[in-house]
């Protein structure tokens, strides 16, 4: 399972991509990632963010899960990510940035 996180927007407006892959992670971390993905439940999440007025300098996250030839992508504004999704985002950022 691979999780790709694309962060855009923000004060700097610099697009950056972070990934976490169970193939290259330690077994324990791989399990952690699977649990976080399961809890985030992206299958029941809208693909695009609900249209609403932009918030100055906030990030957007595009989260893509690749698993057994299936792929699921969703985009969310940072201040409207549900808690479980936010935990997944934080985890990938932390792992990818070392």
């Amino acid at each position: 399972m691979r999780v790709r996180l694309e962060r855009s927007g923000g004060f700097a407006n610099i697009r950056r991509t972070f990934t976490a892959d169970t193939k290259t992670l330690a077994t324990v971390q791989g399990e952690e990632l699977r649990h976080l993905v399961e809890a985030a439940d992206l299958a029941h999440f809208p693909e695009e963010p609900t249209p609403r007025p932009g918030r100055p300098d906030r990030f957007y996250y595009r989260v893509t899960i690749e698993h057994e030839r299936a792929e699921r992508s969703i985009t969310v504004a940072e201040d409207s990510a549900p808690e479980a999704l936010q935990r997944l985002i934080d985890w990938v950022l932390r792992i990818a940035q070392g």
Binding site: S8, G9, G10, F11, A12, N13, I14, R15, R16, R52, P53, G54, R55, P56, D57, R58, F59, D79, D90, L93, R94, Q97
Partner: protein
């Protein structure tokens, strides 16, 4: 376009921050709280009312209520909080107005930077804080872990520490602090929509006053200023001088990891995109350069003449849906009113907008 507050509802899109309950209370209840609540309740109720009635022409609704509150009206009121790497706002209070510097560099930078911003708006334009009603300036530092960003959340400033590899802490740059506070000023004035050209104007006005606060604190003339936004925010090793260049948009950085500065310098290179709320941080390069061209043609301290024209335009003329052309026409008109129809500033402002292809 003027959007009237809905009866019983106070601008729901602006409802966030620690006192979101204020946003769902009807205005009559908020007014009752302003009159009879505790000092803290009165402060947030007044703030909620001011936001919901921010549209010019409706300010009389507030009337004498503002005068009845215990809110400070004379001087700066700053408070700096520490999120301790979490996401709860505002966090723990670490320094308030008049207190001596603390050990934490970021907290002191937020305190000093919001003070310099308050001072420029007050001394150069007679403005009392973000809302022009003496609103306390609240900052939170150490937001989340390694957070590469700073933002205005509708009622306060929030700063990350940066990841430490590409970005420094976001309080390091005075122009970043003044940029964020100007988002607050815009919220209470023109309330420019945060999308497409109005959004790029919103971003540009934040960069303009961000740079002006820095120039003012250094006592620099337009000729001496670097006209950069976020100079010093990159860690050593990143190929770039800053996040944006007002003098030469598109040239601030070109780095293997971060990519290249995407800002256009004129309308011929305007970027049509759905990203970044319609390119608000991209196309802001065009009005940014117009301001730089006007200020350097006028010469001297940029906040005195060009800055005054931009400030009055933002406060009195721009509307939520104003585009680049409206900003150009209105700044020329304001320059004529302030300095005379045939004055040098009028010619400089018109020539600047022509040069970037807006007029």
């Amino acid at each position: 376009m003027v959007t009237e507050p809905q009866p019983g509802g106070a601008a729901p899109s602006r409802c966030h921050g620690p006192h979101s309950i204020a946003c769902i209370l009807p205005p009559h209840m908020l007014r009752a709280i302003v009159e009879r609540g505790s000092p803290e309740q009165r402060a947030w109720a007044l703030q909620a009312l001011t936001v919901s009635e921010r549209i010019r022409g409706r300010r009389e609704l507030l009337g004498d209520l503002a005068a009845m509150t215990a809110l400070p009206t004379g001087g700066k009121q700053r408070a700096v909080y520490d999120a301790r790497h979490g996401s709860q706002l505002p966090g723990t209070l670490v320094r308030s107005e008049g207190q001596r510097p603390v050990k934490d560099v970021a907290a002191n930078e937020a305190y000093d930077g919001s003070g310099s911003t308050w001072d420029l708006y007050h001394d150069a334009y007679g403005r009392s804080s973000v809302d022009d009603r003496g609103m306390p300036l609240v900052s939170t530092v150490h937001y989340r872990v390694g957070y590469d960003n700073a933002f205005w959340d509708g009622s306060q400033m929030v700063y990350g520490d940066g990841d430490g590899k590409l970005f420094e802490r976001f309080t390091k740059c005075l122009d970043v602090i003044a940029h964020e506070l100007t988002h607050g000023v815009i919220q209470y004035e023109a309330s420019l929509d945060y999308a497409d050209q109005p959004g790029a104007l919103n971003e540009s006005f934040c960069d303009v006053f961000g740079s002006l606060v820095k120039q003012w604190s250094l006592g620099q003339t337009a000729e001496k200023a670097d006209w950069l936004i976020g100079a010093g925010i990159f860690r050593p090793g990143v190929t770039g001088v800053a996040l944006r260049s007002m003098a030469a948009p598109g040239t601030a950085y070109d780095d293997p990891v971060l990519g290249k500065d995407p800002q256009p310098a004129d309308m011929a290179n305007y970027v049509e995109t759905a990203d970044d709320n319609g390119g608000v941080h991209i196309n802001s390069g065009i009005p940014n350069r117009a301001f730089y061209l006007a200020a350097t043609a006028i010469k001297g301290h940029a906040w005195e003449t060009a800055g005054k024209i931009w400030y009055v335009t933002l406060r009195d003329r721009l509307r939520p849906d104003s585009d680049f052309r409206a900003a150009a026409t209105l700044t020329v008109a304001v320059a004529a009113e302030l300095f005379g129809t045939r004055s040098a500033p009028v010619g400089a402002v018109r020539a600047a907008w022509k040069k970037v292809g807006v007029l």
